[in-house]
């Protein structure tokens, strides 16, 4: 698949930005600056990046509790994200949502979600709306392997199939739902097989390879935009950190983590781009530094922002 250099560089930059954002969040959480629960996306950057590379600004996504990567890939502003994680009034949700609820409706980001499986029916609804309003917008619905067992996923997949809704269901199969390995939570090896039950295309791809994700998502987005209905893409991936920050990770071995880390999606993509001469060592450094500067700025913005006032508690309950 021929992909132009700008696109490739853009995807690489997105992945680096996600990695650095998440790395900084881990530090800030450890020092107590970020409260609540945070679920990091480190290791899974290729998935959001490869999918969102096909989305327009006016397309939609539904995200999950592990949503920072989806937001950045869809064009979210790290400053507003960081401020939200700090609980500041300048954040995306005025400090009311935090990590599990970050949303930017103007960018088509219909929210991270604290409920596993909360997203798929909402994705179907946004897709219904796109058709209803006569647009060719599409919806990418991110969900985990664990969420693939919730009734909501199956109900939404069926609805999207019978109504030919423009949804791309993207299963981020990182092989665990908290402590439970996929082998113990579902009887099939490939979530992609479940597409057949709803008569939609289903493919399993290497989620550590951004180009593989990009290619599969290209097909699915094209199909959705053309009005030919939903698809399911399963991306086999792995989270390098615990389920949430502070997870003792008693359920997996260091060796298993190390094995997957050898397939780090950023390192492998970088090597490939260097080989293709899309990247140079200088450019790699420049991208790293630019991402770092962006995250630094996001942190200063968050730190310098005010906390919400008590009266704001009562705002936005109703329209």
């Amino acid at each position: 698949m021929a992909v132009d250099r700008e696109k490739l560089l853009g995807m690489y930059t997105t992945m680096v930005t996600i990695r650095q954002f998440e790395g900084r969040v881990a530090e800030l959480f450890a020092t107590g600056k970020i409260p609540g629960f945070v679920h990091l996306y480190i290791g899974e950057e290729a998935v959001a990046t490869g999918v969102c590379a096909h989305l327009r600004r006016d397309d939609f996504i539904t995200s999950t509790h592990r949503g920072h990567g989806h937001l950045i890939a869809k064009g979210g502003d790290p400053r507003l994200m960081m401020a939200e994680l700090f609980g500041k009034r300048t954040g995306y949700c005025k400090g009311k949502g935090g990590s599990m609820h970050i949303a930017d409706v103007e960018l088509g980001i219909l929210g991270a979600n604290g409920i596993v499986g909360g997203g798929p029916p909402i994705a179907a609804g946004a897709a219904l709306s796109a058709r209803y309003r006569g647009t060719d917008q599409v919806v990418a619905c991110f969900f985990g392997d664990g969420a693939a067992n919730q009734g909501t996923f199956h109900e939404a997949a069926n609805l999207a199939a019978i109504w030919k809704l423009p949804v791309v269901f993207v299963c981020e199969n990182n092989h665990y739902g908290i402590s439970l390995h996929q082998g113990k939570h579902m009887a099939v090896a490939d979530v992609a097989d479940r597409a057949r039950a709803y008569d939609m295309p289903g493919v399993a791809v290497d989620g550590m390879d951004v180009m593989a994700v990009y290619e599969a998502a290209g097909e699915a987005v094209k199909r959705a935009r053309a009005g030919d209905g939903p698809s399911l893409i399963e991306c086999k991936t792995y989270r390098f950190r615990g389920h949430f920050e502070g997870d003792p990770e008693v359920y997996r071995s260091r060796d298993e983590v190390a094995e997957w880390q050898k397939r780090d999606p950023i390192a492998t993509f970088r090597a490939r781009l260097l080989e293709m001469q899309v990247l140079t060592e200088d450019k790699v450094r420049a991208i790293d530094e630019a991402a770092r500067a962006r995250i630094d700025e996001a942190v200063s913005f968050a730190e310098g922002s005010p906390l919400p006032e008590f009266e704001e508690l009562f705002e936005d309950v109703y329209a």
Binding site: P35, G36, G87, G114, I115, F310
Partner: protein, 331 residues
């Protein structure tokens, strides 16, 4: 040789864990299931060690399928087992509500008494961890509103153990709600199994001037408020209902007849919270005894906010209780 009464200190989480283990040793029909309850021992550690002692048949990690977790407990309970299943956060009941309120709660009645549903749904509630709007709610009133369900809301390690034992031995579906900020709270817990009957409130502190009815975390805050108020010469009686269904109306009503003043404290939102029922009971049975309007100290009618300063203000605190008590005393 004189028998020594062993006084031990356990956390709420340890007390619950001990109740589970002792009951499982006693009755092989009991099994435990839920998300991350086996190998991980529960995300708050309540089911730690169960898998090692009782094995995979009786201690089951489930997929993330709350509807099937609760629904399968209904089917198992109706056919002779005694499931104790865990809903990781009470907020997730939305995913599974039908299996609880249309199936578990009504089956016996609809079948003309020909089914028994000895199941326990253990779950966890409350704010205090900046876990935001979908991981911090207090929803006791939802369960109280459904005939056929019993609702336990322990506040101390002693009560937690004794109430869980009763819940497990009860032949009805019990929603057993634990507060996340209480898991680490310590207290004396006897080692031998004991059962605390449902529908028996506990007077956590005796007093003469004002009755404060509080649940879960708010019991501790009410006790702290009572301590402060005693310095001002106000004697507060703190009552913990311990179960909301059945509700020990008599203990509450008797106390109000004595103190003539009532303050109700809970972490649920005020509107249609469990306190509304308690206030109504007192209005029906002891209105003439009241010297002041009933006061409710509860969360405001908003979702639970994420940002710590907002969440701190959202959750009722000791000064709010002190203020309400002073208001009913002044009235």
């Amino acid at each position: 040789m004189a028998t020594e009464v062993q006084v031990r200190t356990l956390t709420c989480a340890q007390a619950l864990n001990e109740a589970l283990k002792q009951e499982m040793r006693r009755d092989p029909a009991i099994y435990v299931a839920g998300e991350d309850v086996a190998r991980y021992g529960g995300i708050f550690g309540v089911t730690a060690g169960l898998l090692e002692e009782f094995g995979e048949e009786r201690v089951r990690d489930t997929p993330i399928t709350e509807s099937a977790i609760i629904g399968s407990a209904v089917g198992a309970a109706a056919t002779g087992l005694r499931p104790v299943v865990e809903l990781m956060f009470v907020d997730f009941i939305g995913v599974a509500l039908d299996q609880l309120f249309n199936q578990a709660a009504k089956m016996r009645y609809m079948f003309g008494g020909k089914a028994r549903l000895p199941l326990v749904l253990r779950t966890q509630c409350g704010g205090g961890m900046s876990a935001a709007a979908q991981h911090s709610q207090c929803l006791e009133a939802w369960f109280m509103h459904v005939p056929g369900l019993k609702v336990a809301v322990p506040s101390t390690p002693y009560d937690a153990k004794g109430l869980l034992v009763t819940a497990i031995r009860d032949d009805n579906p019990v929603v057993f709600i634990e507060h996340k900020m209480l898991y680490g709270v310590e207290g004396n817990v006897p080692e031998e199994p004991y059962a605390i009957p449902f529908g028996q409130a506990d007077i956590k502190r005796e007093g003469a001037d004002v009755t404060v009815v509080a649940t879960m975390l708010m019991v501790h805050k009410a006790l702290a408020a009572a301590e402060q108020l005693s310095a001002d010469g106000i004697s507060v009686e703190v009552i913990d209902p311990r179960t909301l269904t059945p509700l020990d109306e008599d203990t509450i009503v008797e106390s109000v007849r004595k103190t003539h003043r009532l303050v109700i404290v809970h972490e649920e939102v005020k509107r249609a919270g469990s306190g509304a029922e308690i206030a109504a009971v007192v209005a029906e049975r002891a209105l003439d005894y009241l010297d002041a309007p009933v006061q409710r100290v509860a969360a405001p009618f908003t979702p639970v906010p994420f940002s710590p300063p907002l969440e701190q203000r959202f959750i009722p605190d000791v000064p709010d209780i002190v203020k309400a008590v002073k208001a009913v005393v002044a009235a």
